[in-house]
Subunit: 146 residues, 12 copies
Amino acid sequence: MSKTLYILNGPNLNRLGTRQPEIYGTVTLDEIKGCCAELVSAAGLDLVFRQSNAEGELVSQVQQAADSASALIINAGAYTHTSIALHDALKLMSQPVIELHLSNPAAREVFRQTNYVAPAATASICGFGAMGYEMAVTAALKLVKI
Amino acid sequence: MSKTLYILNGPNLNRLGTRQPEIYGTVTLDEIKGCCAELVSAAGLDLVFRQSNAEGELVSQVQQAADSASALIINAGAYTHTSIALHDALKLMSQPVIELHLSNPAAREVFRQTNYVAPAATASICGFGAMGYEMAVTAALKLVKI
Amino acid sequence: MSKTLYILNGPNLNRLGTRQPEIYGTVTLDEIKGCCAELVSAAGLDLVFRQSNAEGELVSQVQQAADSASALIINAGAYTHTSIALHDALKLMSQPVIELHLSNPAAREVFRQTNYVAPAATASICGFGAMGYEMAVTAALKLVKI
Amino acid sequence: MSKTLYILNGPNLNRLGTRQPEIYGTVTLDEIKGCCAELVSAAGLDLVFRQSNAEGELVSQVQQAADSASALIINAGAYTHTSIALHDALKLMSQPVIELHLSNPAAREVFRQTNYVAPAATASICGFGAMGYEMAVTAALKLVKI
Amino acid sequence: MSKTLYILNGPNLNRLGTRQPEIYGTVTLDEIKGCCAELVSAAGLDLVFRQSNAEGELVSQVQQAADSASALIINAGAYTHTSIALHDALKLMSQPVIELHLSNPAAREVFRQTNYVAPAATASICGFGAMGYEMAVTAALKLVKI
Amino acid sequence: MSKTLYILNGPNLNRLGTRQPEIYGTVTLDEIKGCCAELVSAAGLDLVFRQSNAEGELVSQVQQAADSASALIINAGAYTHTSIALHDALKLMSQPVIELHLSNPAAREVFRQTNYVAPAATASICGFGAMGYEMAVTAALKLVKI
Amino acid sequence: MSKTLYILNGPNLNRLGTRQPEIYGTVTLDEIKGCCAELVSAAGLDLVFRQSNAEGELVSQVQQAADSASALIINAGAYTHTSIALHDALKLMSQPVIELHLSNPAAREVFRQTNYVAPAATASICGFGAMGYEMAVTAALKLVKI
Amino acid sequence: MSKTLYILNGPNLNRLGTRQPEIYGTVTLDEIKGCCAELVSAAGLDLVFRQSNAEGELVSQVQQAADSASALIINAGAYTHTSIALHDALKLMSQPVIELHLSNPAAREVFRQTNYVAPAATASICGFGAMGYEMAVTAALKLVKI
Amino acid sequence: MSKTLYILNGPNLNRLGTRQPEIYGTVTLDEIKGCCAELVSAAGLDLVFRQSNAEGELVSQVQQAADSASALIINAGAYTHTSIALHDALKLMSQPVIELHLSNPAAREVFRQTNYVAPAATASICGFGAMGYEMAVTAALKLVKI
Amino acid sequence: MSKTLYILNGPNLNRLGTRQPEIYGTVTLDEIKGCCAELVSAAGLDLVFRQSNAEGELVSQVQQAADSASALIINAGAYTHTSIALHDALKLMSQPVIELHLSNPAAREVFRQTNYVAPAATASICGFGAMGYEMAVTAALKLVKI
Amino acid sequence: MSKTLYILNGPNLNRLGTRQPEIYGTVTLDEIKGCCAELVSAAGLDLVFRQSNAEGELVSQVQQAADSASALIINAGAYTHTSIALHDALKLMSQPVIELHLSNPAAREVFRQTNYVAPAATASICGFGAMGYEMAVTAALKLVKI
Amino acid sequence: MSKTLYILNGPNLNRLGTRQPEIYGTVTLDEIKGCCAELVSAAGLDLVFRQSNAEGELVSQVQQAADSASALIINAGAYTHTSIALHDALKLMSQPVIELHLSNPAAREVFRQTNYVAPAATASICGFGAMGYEMAVTAALKLVKI
C-alpha cells in the first residue's frame, strides 16, 4: 500500500508569482507543485497538493489528512493567525505536521504574531521563499522513514 | 403547521467519537442526531440537524433558522471564539438560542475564553458531554411550549 | 446508606423573587428548594440546600460537601467572580460539581467575565432562570447513578 | 474595452431590510443594487454586485476584482473585524478600494473596533445608511476618471 | 411612621482614632456615631450605624437597608475595591446611596483604583476626613426630604 | 429664515496645501472653502467655515453650531484623538454630525486609533482627500432636506 | 485684608441647564454662581467664579488662585480626564483644592475613569448635582477657618 | 509580662493532611500547632494559633495581633491573592510580619501571582512544606529578641 | 538676511523660580531668556522666546517657526504627554527641533512616560535644569552652522 | 565521597555592606561566606560560594552545580527578573534549589515582580536580610539529609 | 579566498544530549558540529562553530561574523527572548541569517513568545531537533551560492 | 589628588563608524575618545573611556566608577532596555550620571521604550550623534565644578 504526503495551501497562495513578486519571487504555485511532486514520487509516495481560500475547506482537508496522510505540510496563509477551527483539526493528527511560510512573519504586522498553527505543529520553516517547500518535503520524507 | 427545531454543529464535530475519545467519549454525531430526533418527534416537532466546517454555511443556516425555526441549539465549535459573522446572524433571531459545548471551555486554552456566541444566546449548557444535547432539546421544547 | 445532593447558593440569592423580578422572575428560593427536594427525594437521595451571604461559610459548606455529598450544585452568585478560596475548596472535591447561574453572565458587566468557579467545575448551566435548578438536579442525579 | 466596478457585500447583508429595520431601514440589498446599477451604467461602466456569507468566497471575489475591476467598493460586514485573509487579498489590488459601512461602527461593541479592511483601503464611508452606496459609487466613478 | 438612615462601615474602621492618627486624625468611630445621631435625630429620623469586618455581614445589612432605610451612607473600606457581592446588594436599592471615604483614594495604591461601590452609588464624598460623615448625613437628609 | 451649515477644521489644517503636499495634495483650505460655499449657496443655505488651532475655541464653535446649525461637518485633526471636551460638545447636538478626515487614519500611528469624535458623530468620511469635503457637503445637504 | 474663594468651571459647563436637563437639571451656571456668592459673602470672603472652554485659560486661572485664593473648588469637566497641564498647575497650590462633579463619573464611559485632577486634590464631591456646589463651598469655608 | 506570637491560617488549611496529600504531605494542622507550641514555649513566649475560612475573622485576628502580639506569622491561603482588607489590617502592625506558604505559588496558576499580603510583610518563606512553620517560628523568635 | 532661533515654553513654565524651588531651582524664565539672548546674539542670530499655557497657541507658534526659524528648542511641559496637535505641527518642520526638559521625566509618574514631542524631535536634553537651555542653544547654533 | 553545597550570588552583591547600608545592613558578603562555611563544614559538606556580575558566568556555575552539588542556594540579584538563560540552567537540576533575597521584592518596583528564578526553584526565602543565608543553609542541609 | 559559515550556539546548549534527553534526544553538540563540518567542507567552505553561555560573547561573535562570514546560523537559546544587544548585532549583518531552534517554542511558556532574533533574521527553522542543523547548513549553502 | 571622569559604552558601539553610517555618521569610537580626552585633560581631570559587549563587565565598571569617578557618562546601548543589573549598579552612585544616546530612541521600536538607565540617571542627552559626547563631557565638567 502506498503512502501519501499532504501539502495544503491557504488563502491568496493561488496568486503566488503575481502577488508582490519583488517580495515573494516569480515562482508560481504550480511550479512549486511540480517540484514537490518530483521529490515525493522519487521517494515512492503519493502527493496530495491543494490550495483553498476557504477556512472550512482547509479544515475538511486536514481531517482527510488525519485519515490517510503520512505527514502534512501546511502553509495556512492568513488563517494561521485567525483560525482556531484549523488548530482543532490539526490537533486531530498524530502524524508529523510541518508549518510553512514563504516570508518571515516575525518581521511583519503585529496581528501576524498570533499563530494558531504553530502550537499544533511538530516543526516549522519560515522565510526561505519557494525553497522552503523543498526543505519541508525533504524533512517530511525523512520523518516518515523513521 | 408543524414546528421545527434547529440543531447546528460547527467545525470538527463530524469527527465526534473518533477524535480524542478519552475526552469526548465514543458517541458519534449520528447517534446524537438519532437520539435528538426521537425526542423532537415525540413532541410533534420537526428536526433540522446539520454540521459544517464552513463559517459562511453556518451563517446561512442560522439565517434559515431565523426564518423558520421554533428554537435553535448551536454547538459552534471553534467558531464560538472567532466568528462575529455568526454573532450577527444569531442576533437576527427572536426565538430562543441555546449555546452548547461538550466540554467545559473554562478549563481550556486562553483563546477559548473569547466567546461571540454566548452574548447572542438565551442560555448555555457546557461540560455534560453528549448528554448536553438531550438536556438542550428537553429545555428547548419546554421554552417553545411557553 | 443514603446519598446526599448538595445545593449551595451564594450572596443575595435569598432575595430571589423580590430582586428585579422583571429580570429574575417571581419564583422565590424557597419555592425552588421545594421543587428540588421533590426531585431528589423521588430519586431516593437526601438534599442539603443552603444559602449564605458569607464567603467563608460557603467555603466551609463546600468542605462538608467534599466529605459527604454525592454531587454538588453551586450558584455562587457574585463570589463566582472574586473568590479563589471557593475555587480552592471546590478543588478538594472528586465528586461532580455543577455550576449554575439564573441569568447569562456573558451578556453582563466586564467584571463578571472573571470566573473562579467554572475552572473547578465539571459542567455548567446558565440563563435558564429557575428552570436551571431542575435541569441541574436531573443531570446530577444521572451523573450520580453512573 | 468596457470598465467594471465591483461592489462586494459580506455576511448577513442579504438580510438587509428585514434585519433590525429600525436601525438599518427597510431598503433591501436588491433595491440598493438597482440604484447602483443605474449610476454605473450611466457612466458607461459594468457593475459586478455580489453578496456572500463565506469568507473564502469573498477572498476569491476580491482576487477577481484585482484582475479586472476599475475600483472596488466593499462592505465586508463582520469579516471587517476578523479576516486577515480578506486584508491580504485587498492588498493585492492597485486600484482604488472604498470601505463601506451602513452604520457607524465607532459607536458599537468593542470587538468591532478591530478593523482589517480599513488599513488596506484607500478611503472609507460609514454611517450614511443605504445612501452610503450611492456616495461610494459616485466617488469611485470620479476616482476612476482621474 | 418614622424614617431610618443607615450608615454602614467596613473593615478596619473600628480602629479609627488609633490607626495612623497622623493621617486619619484622632476622632473615633464612636464619636462620629454620636455626631451623626444628633443630626439625624434633630431631623426626626432614626439612625442605624454599624461596623463590620465581614463582607457577608455588610451584604446582609445592605439588604436590610433596601427593605427599610430612607437612604444609605456606606464607607465600605477595602471591600470597595473587591466586593461584587456588595455591588449586587447595593443594586437592590432604589433609595439614595452615598459612598464615603475618609481619605482620597485617587492618591493611593493602584489596587484602590478599582471600585465596585461607586457605580452602584448615587453620589460620593472623599477626602474630608471625619467631616465627610457630617456632610454625607446633611446631604442625605436633604435628598430624603425631596 | 435661512439655514446654516457649519464646517469646522482643527489644528494644522490652516497649513493645507503647504504641509506634505505629496500626501495631502496642493489644494489649500481657502480653495476648499470656496468650493463648499458654492455648493451650500446653490442649495440656499448659509455657510460657516472656520479653522482653529485651539481646542477650547473649537468647543465654543461646536456649541454655537448646536444653537444654530442645520448640520455640522468637522475635521477635528489631532483633537480627534485627544479631546473629550470636543466629544462632550458634539454630544450637545441633535443635528447631523459628519466626521471628516483627508487621509485614512486606520493606516497611521497607533495613537491615531483613539477617536473621541466618531462615537459622537452620525457618520464619517475618510481618505478621499479634498474631495471628501464635497462629498460631506452633498450628503449633509441631503440629510438636512429629509 | 479680605480672603478669596476660587470656583473654576471647565468646558461645556456654560451650557448647564440647557444640556441634557433630564440628567443635569434645569439650574443654570448663573444661578449656581448666585447661590455660591451669597454663602461666600456671608462668611466675609470674596468670590472668583469663572468658566472657560479652553485648557490653557484654566491653567492660568489656577495659577492665579495659587497666588491669591484661600481655597479652590474646581469642576474641570472633560479636562479632568485629559489635562496633565491642569494637574501640574494644581500641584502649585498649597491651599485646599476640592474636586467637584455634578454627575457620578464612575457610572459613565471608560475614558472618564482616567482622572488627573483627583490626585492633585485634597478632597472630592461627585453626583449631588447643583447641590454639590453648596456642599463644596460650605466645606471649603470650614477648611479655611481651620 | 509574657510575650505572644500569633500564627494565623487562612481558608482550607483545616484540611491539611487530607487535601491532596501527595502534594502537601500527611502532616495535619494540629501536628504543626503542637510543634510550634513547643518551640514558642521553650522561648518563654505564648502562642496564639488559629485557622479560619472567613476573611473578616482573619482581619479581626490581625487587629488583635496588632494590639498584643510580638510578631505575626500568617499563611493567608487563597485570601493572599484577593484580600485588600487583610492588607489594610496588616498595615496596622508595626511588629514583624512573616508571610508563609506551604507550596511555591510562583509555580502555580496566574491568579495566584497577585499578592496583597507580601507588600505588607517584613519577609516571606515559601515552598518548604510543614518545615516552613518551624523556620518561620525560629526566625520570628530571633527577630523578637533583637 | 538674519536668521532666527525659536525657543518655546509650555504651560506652567511662567512659574519657574517660584514653583517647587527645591526641585527646579530659583532661576526664573526671564533670567533664562536673558542668558539665551546673549548666546544667540553673539552668534549673530535673532531670538524668539515665548511661553504659553495654551496648546493651540503653541501649535500656532510652531507653525510660525516652521516658516521662519533656523531651529526650534521646545520645552512643551505637560503638553509633551498629551498633545498630538503639537506633534503634527512639529512634523511640519524640516529644521532641527530640540526637545528640552528641566527635570528627568523618566523618574516621574507613569503618565509622563507618554511623549508626543520626542518622536517629532531631532534630539533631546533632559534633567540639567536651567543649564539645559544653554546646552540646547549651543547645540542648536552648531547644527545651524552645518 | 564528600558532598557539596553551592551558594551563588548575582550582580552587585559584591557591594554588600557598602551599598545602601541603611537598607541592607553592614554585613559583607565575605562575612556571610564565613558564616555559611562554618555551618556547612560542621555538617560534613563542602561549600562552593561564588559571586559574579555576569549572567553567562552564573549560567555556567549553575551547570556545574547540576553536575556535582547536593543542593543550590541562589541569590540571583537583578538577573532574577531578566534571565531566562538562568531559568533554563536551573531547570537542569534535579537537586533542591532555594531562591534567596535579602529584601522583600514584593514591596519594590514593578519590574522586580517578574521572576524567572522562582518557577524553577523548590522554595524561597525573602526579606530576612543576612539571616536568610543562615536559614537557607540550615534548610538545605535538612533537605539533603532526607 | 575561502568562504566561511558561522554557527553560533547560546546558553545551555553545551548540555545537549544530557539535558532532558527524552525531549532533545541524545545527540551532543560535538556530534552536531562534526556533522555540520562535513557538509560545509564538502561544499568547500570553512566552518566556525561556537557555543557560549555569555550574551556579550555572542554579541562579539556575531560582529566577527558580520566581518567575515558568508552566512550565519544562530541558535541563541534563551537569549532569543531577552537580548536586544544580540538583535542589534544581527542587524549589522547584510549576509543571510538563519534562526534555529531544536524544539518548537510556540508550544512552550509565554515568556518564550518574545523573540528578538527572528525580526533580525532572514529565515528560521524550528522543531526538527538535531536534523534542523543539517537543514540550516544545506539551506545556507544554497543561499550563499546564489 | 586628580579627579576622574568615566565614559562607558555598551554593546555594538565598537562598530561605530562602520555600522549604518548613513544613520550614525562615519566618526569612530576612537575618534570620539580622542575628542573627549582633550576636553577632559584641558579641565585637569583624568578620563576612563571603555566599551564592552558584556553586561556583567559594564556592571563591574559602574561599580568602579562608584568608587573613584567624579561623574559618569554612559551610553549603555541595547542594555539600556534590558538590564536591571545595570540599573542597580547605577543606583550605587551618588555622583552625577549622564545617560547618552547617539540617536533618538523615541522614534524607534517599541521595545526600546523600556529604559532602566534613565530612572537611575541625573540627566540625559539623545539624538545629537557624536556631538552628544562633547555636550555630555562639557556638562559633566560643569556639574563636577559645582
